[in-house]
């Protein structure tokens, strides 16, 4: 039994090595492009982290790290809080501690998660009315996307 398992594992490893060799020899440089893409993604995330650190207060940054969301007070409506998820998903809106709606607004081009958090924060703080106009509104709890932190 153990010998059969070792044989299968050996064959699987052989195929894996052959595949890696084939890709590295491919004329269109697929492995190189993959490596480049991973490196680009990591660099984008690291830049986004720097932007977050610079634009968020220490308390806000700690909240995001600890709880996975950032809460922004409404500049115009007392007792309203926007809870922005740190890793994508809907923005939850609370009034006096109760969820009143969820908002979906996204950049037309993909951005690193950290930049999306900053985007929501800036839009809410500088132009809440337009933010609310552009976002799609949902009743709380109806739709949840990538909401592991909510």
């Amino acid at each position: 039994m153990l010998q059969t398992l070792s044989l299968f594992l050996g064959i699987w490893l052989l195929f894996l090595l052959l595949a890696i060799y084939y890709l590295s020899q491919a004329p269109d440089g697929r492995v190189g492009r993959f490596r480049e893409s991973v490196s680009e993604h990591l660099s984008a995330e690291s830049r986004a982290k720097v932007l977050l650190r610079e634009l968020l207060s220490e308390n806000q940054y700690q909240q995001l790290i600890k709880f996975g969301y950032l809460e922004v007070n409404s500049p115009t409506i007392d007792s309203r809080i926007y809870r922005i998820p740190g890793s994508g998903g809907l923005v939850k809106v609370y009034e006096r501690g109760c969820a009143v709606m969820e908002l979906c607004l996204q950049p037309a081009e993909p951005l690193p998660d950290g930049d999306v958090v900053v985007m929501h924060k800036l839009m809410i703080e500088a132009n809440e009315e337009e933010y609310l106009q552009k976002a799609n509104h949902f009743a709380p709890g109806i739709i949840s996307l990538r909401c592991q932190h909510l």
Partner: protein, 81 residues
Amino acid sequence: MGMLRIMSRRGDERVVWDSEKVESNDPETVAAIREAERIFNQERARGSTAFKVESGKPVERIEQFDRTAEQIVMVPRVVGG
């Protein structure tokens, strides 16, 4: 220092200039500001929104490039999801 930050899929890209040299028409500063203004206008034409972010002041949405701003952050066009 003044800074224009443009959000993109690669993270934010930056153009920096020395605000203290703006008045003295320092060629390097003038060139950096021109470049920043060009990118600002180009991004605005593509539907981006610009925010002036300064320490201790509320965030402000701006329509025109402001060379005196500490920091301008440009967010790409947004759509309801």
